[in-house]
Every structure is written in structure tokens, then in C-alpha cells.
Point group: D2
Chain length 300, copies 4
């Protein structure tokens, strides 16, 4: 039976650990929050040392941690504990250049590394995850049984994208596309909602759109379900968070000289939803007053 | 057995007629091109008069014609031939304000009208269509058996959106969303393609994305299939046509004061792909030369 | 001495009337608000009839009224009062297709018409206006003395653009460009303001930019002056109104198939600043919660 | 009399050296291309060593070199040749984070540094430059006579923006605004040009717009002049280069979470003008063929 150590047992890591267990894998888990480890119902290690000691070499340790410092520090700690030939996988949303840097640094210590972009959110436990692997071919081969178990079916939903970095790069672009698709849906539904004279039942319409149309998609499935529960979205404020991957997609596009008007607009819409101050808009109102004598609104 | 007259037996109308026949409906068809009528393998009328004479009142005549003059002229001709209580359906991509105008005009002649947005393209024959109906409730009821047969299944993929015009309005917005989603996919894949160092197999990646990811969608299914056949798209020029509905979506948004940055950008990208002259870009190059002495490229 | 009747003595019309008087023209004014007429310090007519009676044929009557109903009704009223050979000028911000329609309708009554786009805002009284004339060449000739007086200098700042409609068309596009320029300035200054570590004095920077830089412009002059008075814009709410011309520019571009990404974005930014409800953003937050379990903000 | 060493005597540096000479400064110049040095008509050094030897301490050496390697290497070379207390100025278009790094590194060697954004292009020799200074207050004071001479007038067109990096940051944003303004002008003129029925003389219209309008600006002055010479722009290809600063502006905005829709669109329009391959557009055409059976254009 195959063993895996899962570090980070939150919304993503916890569910992935459970899915692997259900498929018959031996999963040892660690989370700095002991509560999370208990919730995951698996062999829980108390420390990273403990986790490593519970696995037989050559080990596989899979991280599902927030990108940035949490991932960096944990990789550093594990690098000391693991032995040459062990394999570290970062399944979080790291910046692909960080993954390239980390792979090089771990290789100097004899450790293998793969970056795996994981998509699917909270539904992955039941429906399976989409997985994009970056790393050498032999590493991808070693991961294959795990990928086949995590994916919706053994032969679909996972792919070896390319060398180290390519997995997180593909996931980054996946999320950029996601931003654009989400924004397209939101704009269209906004327009329907503002067409007051038709009093369109958006829950019914999106439900119908799920079948037979060109725009049928999983995001539409979710919207239809969400609107069925609360069509007016009264309990949700018009503020949209963003994460690193949308930003990196735009920055990478700028670096490569590739136009991404839609992905960038989707990102900027989120920025604007987060900006309470609106200095840009105050400036525009100022200009209108200056040249045309147009009245400005006063702050509330 | 229920009867329907189908006018316009092209890619959409021909396939819809066949699907209805397969489901047991009596379909009488007419197309100004006799070839199309023969290809559709149904009772073919030689003229609109003939078509009307083959149907028993109260009749249902469904148009699948290009929006604009073809639809307008045919409605005018049928208005003279039909009798009070007969029902005309426009399943083409008409502008919703035209549909409202036409409904009012037909009502003066005692004729009923429904506007039905139909999505699904060339796949609808086998997979069923998405249908969005505008018109009075009793008209929608009368159409129900046909909608149930055309949709992917009797209880999914069709919806009575609202009063006359609402069906084409919903279809218009559907296509606006489609523009945005398509552009998001194209931008993301463009970025992956330009990341030369990773040499990503886009056919394999999009195939994997179809399962388990957040962006899984029918458009992605089509892209994966298309790239499997020709990953470099060597036989396709970088020119993208647009149709009325993308344009109307943006114009309606402007009229209602609703921001649609992503849908508009998707439309403008198509415009730019169609513009061989590039006067805007020549002007930009001119400005750069004027203020900075920067070299300009000469036309080929 | 040359005579002109000015109808509408608000911010624009009142100042234009004064400028013409200062330059020695005989101006008869009318405003439905007697207060405005008195403020303009000119020969004030009590009614349109009175205004017409005070002018000698062939008359020139220049309207500076809000586009839409006010302009339409006043043109209709004047059409009855005026005599063949009289000339009506619409200097307001009418939609160019309305101007074309009105010109045709007035021509049937033997009346001449010109559409004149007027730019310059509240500064025009002292600095002169930019004027764009649409109409036949002989009408433009007849207007020439007035254009020379209203413009910053007799030989600059006015132009006969083309046939009827071309004046308002050019003004419409002028305003579209204005939207884009304003937004570019606002975005750049927003970015500078958000770079907290540099604590940039935006009033000083924009003042310096007014001289020698590539972006020196009248809008920048106004921004520098406005920021000198109130750099934090504390008294201005982040809400930006829009007027017909920005909207028409985008709709015309869509009709002609011309990409205007920047002008459209500038318009959409204003729409978003006006939208308190944010249904699009609520939808985006909903989607994030649905697929990723991400927390949403609650409405305040 | 005040001395300055100018390194890089190209379009910008050569003209700045001449302007300083005309104002009575002692300018020693160096360019790796001896031709450029001769053209600038000043005391020309044969090498950097020679240049340094011709200046009396504390020296001022001002670089006008391409950003990136040329600037980096020259700063490294000069750091060895100069003495503590000497002042290095980078007037090129460097990335502000590079300038911050370089200042720190030069400070370790006892050398002072200022980053000065210079705007004005090829017109600066006659009209003066806009200058944005980053660095300590005492360094800015030391530069003051030079700034006063380079600017359009001693008391306008230059500003001490803030600490090291702030000068290049302000110039970067200046160029971002420039991109947006240029694009706004290009879009508007494109729309006017496509309105064939009005046959608008764009040279005459832009000439008129220069006076009295809201959009009057130096860029408009240049466009009017350029169109007067060649209204159809037949000799200019529709390809627009971009430089680092537009890209950095967008990347910085993404980093700070500031929406810059217009500046980003202006940048993407340039990218698209440079992209002969159009893989994104081929993908869009593919999708349309896949779902709708729409014909695609074949490559020429």
C-alpha cells in the first residue's frame, strides 16, 4: 500500500487526504492546528519530525499550505528532515518562479520536487480534482497513482504539463481564465437584473442555461445553485477578494508582451470593489467640476 | 400528433426540424433553397402558401432565418397567409426590440408571437438545444411540447423568461457572456503558448482541464477537441467575425448604464482582428515618432 | 452690427452671450428662467415670440439647451415663429442623428440649420470656446463672424467639420477622447497616491508636469489647480456622472465596428462609480464562496 | 561656472548637453560612439576615465543611457573611477527599484545618487524638459541649477518628488498616463476616420481642437502637425512599440491592487499590434467553427 504525508489539512488538504484514504492510500497528516488534524480523521503526526518518522523512504510529502512564507518555511524544515530520494510536492498556489527556485535548492540537497496545481475547491472530495504537474518525467510517474486517485477518474483530470514550474504556471493561467469567465457571467447577469421591465427570474434562467447552451459550465452550475438559494444576494456585500494567481497572470502577460484585456479587466473590477476610498473617482469628479462647473456629490 | 411549420432549414433550422421529427412531431418545412429542404428529409413545402395550406389551424410556424430583412419579410408574408389564433415563433437571433415591435404589429392582425432564443449550434441535433422563450404565458404553454423535445431533456434547458422580447434579450446576453468566456479562454491559452520555455502541449492540458477544474465548460470541451486535431491552428487566420448579439449587448449595457468591461473588450478584440487598416495604430506610431523621434515600421 | 438670438442662458449660453456682446454683437437672449436672463445682462426677451420679434430677418437663433426634450420642443416652437431663410443653430450636446433629423424637418419649412459642438466649459467666456460646425458651406460662412468671436482667436479653435450632423458627431467624439484622457490621468494619480512609501505631493508633481512633459494638457492644468486647493479631495464623493456623449461614442463605435477599449473603459468606470448596489460584485463573491468556500463580506 | 559630465549623447543626452551649454554650463561629454560626441559639439572625453579626469571634484556625472545593462555597467565603471562625494544622476528610463538598489550600492562607496525622470522627447532642446527628481533633499539642491536650466523656465517643469526611486517612479507613471492619453486620441480619431459619410478632414479638425477645447494638449498639437503633413499615414505601418515604463506601470498597479483599466488597455493594444501570429484570435475562430459551424478565414 502506498504512503503519503500530507502537510496542511485545511479546506483543500484535509479533503484531499480523505479522498486518498478512501481510495486505499496510507495517509499521514500534519497540521499546525491539531484541530484540523483530528477533523481529517487520519493518522496525525504531532510534528514534522513525527510525520517524517512515520513514513518509509523514499518518502512522499505533499504540502497544501498558503503560498508564501508558510510554504517556504515548511519546505526549509522538511529539507533538513528528509533524506535524498524523498519527494516533496507543493500542491498550493505558489508563484511558479518560487517553485523553480525551490526545486533547484532542494535538488542541491538530493531532494526531488514537483509543483502541482490543484483545482476543484471544496467539491473535490466528492467530484475529484483537476491536477497540473510540473517536474521531471520520472517524478510525474512516481506521482501517478496519487494523481489517478485525486482526479475525477484515473484517466482524466490530471496532466504532466512540463518541467518544474509548469504545473504552477498552468494553474496560474487556469485561475486567470477563471477570473475572466466569472466576470463575463457576472456582467451578463447584472445586465439581465438591471432590465427591470422584464423582471427576469435569474435562478430559473441560469438553471435552464445549464443544459444545451454554449455557455454551460461548472461556474454556471454553481451560480444557478446559489441563485436558487438567494436570488437577490442580500447577504453578500459587493466586495470581491483576489488572490495571487490573478495578479501573476497579468504580470506574466505583461512580461511576455501578451495582451490579456479580459483577464486584466476582471482583476481590476475586483480591485475597484475593494477600494473604499476611490481617489481616482474623486479626481474625475474634480475634473468635471473644474472644467464644466458640474456639481459633485459630497461624501456621506 | 402535433404539427409545426419550420421556415428556414439551414444549419440550425434543418437540425431542429429533424430533432422534432425524431421525437414524433409532424414537421412541414420550407426553405427558399430547395436543396436545403431536400437535405432536411421532411415534408417540404414549395412556397410559404403551400406550407400554410399543409398545416391545420391553429397553426404554429417557427422561423429560423437570419435576423434582419429575411426575418422581417417572411413575417410580413406569413401575416397575410395566416389566420387569427395562429402562432408565429422567431427562433433566430433577432434584436429584442424588433421582436417587441413585430409582436405588436402581428397582434393587430390577431396573430400570436413568441421570441425564442436558441443556443447550441451544430450540436443541438444530438445534444438538444437551450431555449429561452419570450411571450405571454399561454403562448409559452402552447409551445411546451416543442420546447421539451428540442431541449436536452423535457425538464431542462428551456425556460419561459418573460414577456415578448425577453427571450431574445436573454439570448443576446447569453451570447455576450459567450464572447467573454471565449476571450478568457483564448487569452489564457495564448499566454501558455507564448511561454516557450515550457513547451506546453495545449491539447493535453485542455483535455485534462475538462475534468475537476473550476473552468470546466462546454467551450473548453470544444477547444480541447479542436486542439487535438490541430494544435497550431495553422489553417485558421487570426480573424474573428462577430454577429449582432455581441454588439447589442454592449449597446444595451451602455443604455442601461451597466458596466460590461469584459464583454466589451471581447467584442473590441474581434473588431481589431477584422481591421486590416489599423488607422488607430498608425496614429500611435505617428505620435511616438513626433515626440520621441522613435522609428516607425513601414507598411509591407 | 450683427444680431443673434440666444436661447438658453445657463452656464454655457449665458457666458457665450456675454462674450459675443463684448465683441460687439447685438445679442437678444431668452431663458425660461427670468433670473438667468437678468444675470446675463443683455436684451432679454420675455418669450420666444418676443425674441423673434426683436431680430431682423434673416434671423440667427442659437440654442444652448439641454439635449433631448428641451431642445426638441424649442426647435418646434421656433419653427412656427421663424420665416424662410432664418437660421437655427443647436450649440448643445445633441445626438448627431437627432440633428440630422431636425435639419431635414426644418428644411421642409424653409429654415436653415447648423449643429455646432461647443467645448470649453466655464472657462470659455475668458479663454474662448472650441467650436465644431456641421451644415452646408454657406451656413458655415454665415456663422463665421460669430465663430471667430466665440473662439479663442479669429483664426483658431473653430472648424467647419462637414454636413449637418458632423458638428455634433465631432463634439461627441471629442467628449469620448476627454473621457479617456481624464481616466488616464485619474489612474496614474491614483497609483501615485497609493505608493504610500514615497509620500508624493501630487499638487507639486502635477504642477511640474504642466511644463515640458509629454502629458501636458489643459486637463492637467485643471487637476494641478484643483489639487493645489484640496489635495486629498475630502469634500468630493467618489461618484462620477456621465452624459450622453460618452455613451453615444461607444454605441457609435460598436455600430461602426471600431474598437474603443479605452473610451469604453472610462465610461464603465463611471457607471461602476454610480452603482451602489453592485449586483455583479455580489455574484462574483457568491461564486468564490460556492467553489472555494471563501468567506464573503456581509453588507454594512 | 558649473561643470557637468554627460554620459550618453544620443537623442536625449546630446540635446540636454547642448541646452546646458547654451545656458552657460561647462559640459564634458562621453558617448561610446565617437560620432555622437562630435555631433554634440562639446568637450568630448575619449573614455570614462578621461571624462572623470576632466571634471573637478565634487563631480556631477549625469547618465542618459538605455535602461538596463548599459546603465548598470556604466554605473559600475564610474563607481570605481569617482571619489566620495561625487554625484551620479540617472536621467534614463530605469525601473525605480533598480534605482533604489543602485543608490544603496553606490552609497556604500560614498557616492551620491539621484534618479531623474526626464520627459519632453526631441523637443526638449528648444522647449525645455519636464524633470522629476528622486533623492535626498541636499542632492536635489545641488542639482537645482541644472534642473532650472533644463526645464522650460527656472521655476517650472521640475520637481523634487521624494526619496531615491521616486523620480523614476513618477516618470514611469507619467508614461503610463501618456499611453492612456495617446490611445484615447487614437481611438477617437479612428472613429472619425471610419465615419466615411462625413469625410472629415482630420488635420483641420485636430488643428481646431488645439484651441478652446477640453482635450487641448501637447499630444494633440503633435497629432495635428503630423496629420497636416500626411493625413492618411500611408507610410506608417500599424505597429506600435512599447517600452519598459508602460509595462512597469501596469505591473506596479497590480502589485498595489490599483485598477488601471485604461492604461492596461493601451498597453495591450500595443502588444496586439506587435503580434503577427494572433494565436488568441485563431483560437476564437476555432471555437466559433466548433460550436456554430461558422466558416473561418484561411491564412493568406
Amino acid at each position: 500500500m502506498q504512503e503519503i504525508g500530507m502537510v496542511g489539512l485545511g479546506r483543500m488538504g484535509g479533503a484531499m487526504a480523505r479522498r486518498l484514504q478512501r481510495k486505499g492510500f496510507q495517509v499521514v497528516g500534519f497540521d499546525q492546528n491539531p484541530q484540523a488534524a483530528r477533523a481529517a480523521e487520519l493518522v496525525a503526526a504531532d510534528t514534522l519530525e513525527h510525520l517524517v518518522s512515520l513514513l518509509s523512504p523514499p518518502r512522499l510529502v505533499w504540502l497544501m499550505l498558503p503560498a508564501g512564507e508558510a510554504t517556504e518555511k515548511t519546505l526549509e524544515a522538511l529539507a533538513i528532515l528528509l533524506a535524498p530520494g524523498d519527494l516533496l510536492v507543493d500542491g498550493g498556489n505558489a508563484y511558479y518562479k518560487d517553485s523553480q527556485r525551490r526545486a533547484a535548492w532542494l535538488a542541491e540537497r538530493g531532494l526531488l520536487f514537483a509543483d502541482v496545481g490543484v483545482s476543484g475547491g471544496v467539491w473535490g472530495l466528492e467530484e475529484g480534482y483537476g491536477l497540473m504537474v510540473g517536474g521531471p518525467a520520472e517524478v510525474a510517474s512516481r506521482l501517478r497513482p496519487f494523481l489517478e486517485a485525486l482526479a475525477p477518474s484515473p484517466d482524466s483530470g490530471w496532466v504532466h504539463v512540463g518541467p518544474v514550474g509548469a504545473g504552477h504556471f498552468a494553474k496560474m493561467v487556469h485561475n486567470g481564465i477563471e477570473y475572466g469567465m466569472m466576470q463575463a457571467l457576472a456582467e451578463g447577469l447584472h445586465l439581465l437584473q438591471k432590465k427591470r421591465e422584464f423582471q427576469i427570474d435569474l435562478a430559473a434562467l441560469t438553471q435552464a442555461w445549464r443544459h444545451g447552451t454554449v455557455i454551460r459550465s461548472w461556474l454556471l452550475d454553481l451560480v444557478a445553485q446559489g441563485l436558487a438559494e438567494d436570488p437577490e444576494l442580500k447577504e453578500i456585500a459587493p466586495v470581491v477578494a483576489d488572490s495571487g494567481e490573478g495578479r501573476w497572470t497579468v504580470q506574466e502577460a505583461v512580461e511576455l508582451g501578451v495582451g490579456v484585456p479580459v483577464i486584466a479587466q476582471a482583476l481590476f473590477s475586483r480591485f475597484e470593489s475593494q477600494d473604499k476610498e476611490g481617489y481616482d473617482r474623486r479626481l474625475l469628479a474634480l475634473m468635471r467640476r473644474m472644467f464644466g462647473g458640474h456639481a459633485v456629490e459630497r461624501p456621506a
